[in-house]
């Protein structure tokens, strides 16, 4: 009996200490507050790139470290690349806990994870002068608010793109002009949308244009009543859904097999399906679109910083930017990538909007973490943790 008791006491004693550690590490904190100075802001970035460490560990979206540009990088720098692919932004944040845990060097995070990483102290300032191609970036991606705070860069922009409306050209003779097809009972059982709480923003974007009386101005900053309206729209949409897709390959299957006729997608799915001669096309409807903008962020405890800088330098060059853009169907940050894209695949520069002026950027509402503090200074917005709970209620 005494033994048992001691066990319990021992467990109990370590518990509170460990629990503190758990809370501060490991788990993404969705509601990181902005307006303060990031913990790593004072860390001085290195002034030059030294000799490579021979290794580089990346956390990336699948497709962001393809042999096409990884192999030449390895040969040129001697840095052996290991990429771990994350399934969601939350997974990225978790893996990057504790400054990358002394394991990871760089993460290709999207806008909805960037601020969590920056304010969580998991990434550190980058010396942008060491990345010459940065000069060629589109102006709005040189120091965007999601990777640059108070003039301090925590990463370099990579690619961006819109969430498009993918449709079967067998079911649609001409391109649908509105997102309304995803909410229309006409296509009951033939619709798919991403299995992602950020999908609530897509519903909010649709309501912003179709129900002005709700007063939505930013689909990522919703008051309780605006949020409820978006959630109700998605609950009404549920009976129409064939499947909430989780992997890009899921959606490819859905359209290949003819299970679905319309869905929210990335341009990547369109490219893959068209390459396989499946009759599909995509469009950005009149309401506009949400989208993503990814950056490479430098881990606070990066074990191979020189290789990490070599990599950021490499992926920012017009050639690699073009290669990634064409293979994934994204828009490159480097404005000189356009002609190289056309060389790789005729018409791809225009196809992936790389020739558009900066105003095009404004038509895409990029993912960002919903916070309880709205931009207008009020504190009545619904934070991201509630978005995920609501999403489970919708899809459950």
């Amino acid at each position: 009996m005494t033994r048992k008791f001691t066990h319990r006491a021992a467990v109990g004693a370590t518990l509170s200490a460990l629990a503190m550690a758990l809370v501060s590490l490991g788990v993404p904190n969705a509601g990181a507050s902005s307006g303060q100075t990031p913990p790593t802001a004072s860390m001085k970035p290195q002034a030059s790139i030294g000799k490579g460490e021979g290794k580089l560990n990346l956390i990336a979206w699948e497709g962001y470290a393809r042999p096409q540009w990884v192999k030449p990088f390895e040969q040129a720098t001697g840095c052996q690349v290991t990429a771990k692919y994350a399934g969601s932004s939350g997974e990225m944040v978790s893996l990057m806990a504790n400054g990358g845990g002394g394991q990871y060097d760089l993460v290709s995070a999207s806008g909805d994870a960037d601020l969590r990483l920056i304010y969580g102290g998991d990434v550190k300032p980058v010396n942008i002068k060491l990345i010459p191609s940065w000069q060629q970036f589109r102006p709005f991606l040189k120091a965007p608010s999601f990777n640059t705070i108070n003039g301090v860069h925590y990463g370099v922009s990579l690619q961006f793109g819109p969430n498009v409306l993918l449709y079967s050209t067998k079911s649609f003779k001409s391109a649908p002009t509105s997102w309304s097809v995803l909410y229309s009972s006409k296509y009951k059982g033939k619709i798919t949308v991403p299995n992602n709480p950020i999908q609530i923003a897509d519903a909010a974007l649709y309501l912003m244009k179709t129900k002005p009386s709700l007063g939505i101005t930013d689909p990522y900053e919703l008051t309780q009543s605006q949020f409820s309206a978006a959630v109700n729209l998605l609950k009404a949409q549920k009976p129409l859904i064939a499947k909430y897709w989780s992997l890009a390959s899921d959606e490819i299957n859905l359209f290949t097999s003819g299970t679905t006729a319309a869905g929210a997608a990335w341009p990547y799915q369109t490219i893959a399906l068209q390459a396989a001669k499946v009759a599909v096309s995509d469009t950005i409807p009149k309401e506009g679109a949400t989208g993503w903008a990814d950056s490479w962020l430098l881990a606070a405890k990066a074990p191979h910083p020189n290789c990490a800088y070599d990599w950021m330098k490499w992926v920012s060059t017009p050639k690699v930017q073009a290669e990634q853009a064409v293979s994934f169907g994204e828009t490159p940050a480097n404005s000189l990538a356009c002609p190289l894209m056309n060389k790789l695949q005729a018409g791809s520069c225009a196809g992936y909007h790389a020739n558009q002026p900066d105003s095009y950027f404004k038509s895409i509402l990029f993912w960002k973490t919903p916070l309880s503090t709205c931009d207008n200074g009020k504190n009545n917005c619904v934070p991201y943790s509630e978005w995920t709970t609501a999403w489970t209620q919708i899809t459950g």
Partner: protein, 265 residues
Amino acid sequence: MKHRLLRSGQWLWVSGVLVFLFAPIATIVLFSFDRSNIESWPIHHWTTSWYSVAWHDTAVRQAFVLSLKAAVAATALALILGSLAAFGVHRARFFGRDTISLLFVLPIALPGIITGVALNSTFQWAGINLSLWTIIIGHTTFCIVVVYNNVIARLRRTSSTLFEASADLGASTGQTLRFITFPLIATALVSGALLAFALSFDEVIVTTFTAGAQNTLPIWIFGAIRLGQQLPEVNVVVTLVVLIMLIPIAVAVRLTGRDTMSSRA
């Protein structure tokens, strides 16, 4: 007549189960020869080019070797810890044995994500760098139950009089263990080991959080199928792994087979 009907019914059932077991495997093998990286039936263009792609993929080889190391070590640890636990629980009818059963089941009953994140936080808090060892720790934790359950099911089926007789005849604990206990549980250990190995070799979610920057084979596979570009390569890798694993399975089954015959005599 009725007997014969029953017999053919039994074999019909066995054939049906075999078809069920191998239909997906056959699908995997077939699609490994598909030129398109989008799986759709029937296959239009056949190719063996994915085999050369997979063969020359160093990421696959490294991942395979890492998975093998982790699975072998985790299985060995689980064999030791799982059978110790089974013997302990079997011998002692003390209170709390149900609690122990529950404890061992938890790592597979809870979503891997819970185990993964919990272990990850503890490792970080304790300042343990993620490595092959942290993978092994995670895998052992959920493999113990496989060995434990197999061994304890066997022990419960074994009459304790055997052990008593051995002791009464003056055998030492070591002798009883070696000549009575071990032969009795040997097949349970082999099948427990095979299942534990398979579970470890296939685990993705816990491993994601305990592996650090290295990729095990399932992690590589999960990465490769997310976008679907490398789906045929995944099918090739799986086909090759199944072929390679024929050898250890044949050996293991041979070991259990001898026992089967003796039990029939």
